[in-house]
């Protein structure tokens, strides 16, 4: 009797669940199957969404921010406004920066987990009707690779954090674009 009851429970449980599918592994790449190397952004813009009013009047922060934005623009143009693309797919690309955590290169190498972290959202739209083709949240982190003295020396010698963060931002975006999941 109890086995019969158990079978009923399992049977109806499964039916109920089949009406509301679990999205345990959602398709995260809407451009899966598209040759994303063909994407050419006829319109490209970078938006600053970080509330950094507490850093107003901090010249070091302002310099870092300006340098990062210039580097990011340079790398995005190099990646998404290439003239040598055969059969380009015209897109409009907006990159919105939502997190900008910046400390010095030396400290960044000491602090595990990324003292320097950038987070942003890249939204690709169809310029014809402005519909969203795909959107990706990407992160770039520049941080420790171990060893206190070595890290300090590395940090002192390796100060071009902005260009590294910008390049990593676009590399990570490219990875998401080419993801088969």
């Amino acid at each position: 009797m109890s086995r019969l009851f158990l079978c009923f429970v399992v049977f109806f449980g499964l039916i109920a669940c089949s009406t509301q599918p679990l999205d345990l592994n959602p398709i995260s790449n809407p451009l899966k199957g598209v040759d994303t190397q063909r994407l050419v952004a006829s319109d490209l813009s970078i938006l600053w969404g970080v509330d950094d009013s507490s850093f107003q009047g901090n010249p070091k922060y302002a310099d870092s921010k300006d340098a990062y934005l210039k580097e990011l623009e340079r790398v995005l143009i190099a990646s998404f406004q290439r003239a040598d693309v055969a059969e380009p797919i015209d897109v409009s690309l907006t990159f919105t920066i939502s997190l900008y955590r910046r400390i010095g290169a030396v400290q960044a190498r000491w602090i595990e987990g990324g003292g320097n972290t950038i987070k942003g959202t890249a939204v690709f739209r169809n310029p014809q009707d402005n519909s969203v083709m795909a959107a990706y949240v990407v992160e770039a982190v520049y941080g420790s690779d171990g060893g206190l003295i070595g890290a300090a020396l590395q940090g002192l010698a390796d100060t071009d954090v902005e260009s590294k963060l910008a390049e990593q931002t676009v590399q990570n975006l490219r990875k998401k674009l080419s993801s088969k999941r």
Binding site: S2, R3, F5, L6, V9, V10, F12, G13, L14, A16, C17, T19, Q20, P21, L22, D23, L24, P26, S28, L47, W48, G49, V50, D51, T94, T96, S98, G120, T121, V123, V132, A135, Y136, V137
Partner: protein
């Protein structure tokens, strides 16, 4: 045996309240209702707890559910309100936000998980974000209906 049956029943029913949002993808921010304020609460894709829908509480009253890659729009009266997202086994982490009449408040919900030898702990961290950020990030989400 009956205990197993009850357990299975609970698990299956529990499973049925999970899932991804079934509404439309985010397209644009709506106007705030007259004399009100409006909360946009969204949750980006995250590996931890992705099958769970979090219960959304405002001032202790449940207002809806929020799934992975979902957003929910809730009109609220102007003033301070305590917002909390709850899920089984998660630590409490309510946050109070100030709502002004005629304004949208955009809040991002992120699951913070810390692992440990004897099991980890999770909580939902709520952070107010700018409209620019919310509009971009919500593009990856669907509305909870």
């Amino acid at each position: 045996m009956k205990n197993i049956a009850v357990l299975l029943l609970v698990v299956f029913i529990g499973g049925c309240v999970t899932g991804a949002p079934q509404g439309d993808s985010f397209s644009a921010v709506r106007d705030v209702p007259q004399g009100q304020s409006q909360l946009y609460l969204y949750r980006l894709h995250g590996a931890v707890g992705q099958a769970l829908k979090y219960k959304v509480f405002i001032d202790g009253e449940q207002k809806g559910l929020l799934g992975n890659r979902g957003y929910i729009v809730i009109p609220v009266s102007p003033g301070k309100h305590e917002i909390e997202l709850k899920a089984p086994g998660y630590k409490k982490n309510p946050v109070t936000f100030d709502f002004e009449a005629g304004e949208n408040v955009f809040i991002s919900a992120i699951t913070d998980y810390k692992g440990g030898i004897l099991g980890g702990s999770a909580k939902v961290v709520l952070t107010e974000v700018t409209k620019v950020v919310a509009e971009a990030e919500m593009t990856t989400t669907k509305e909870e209906i």
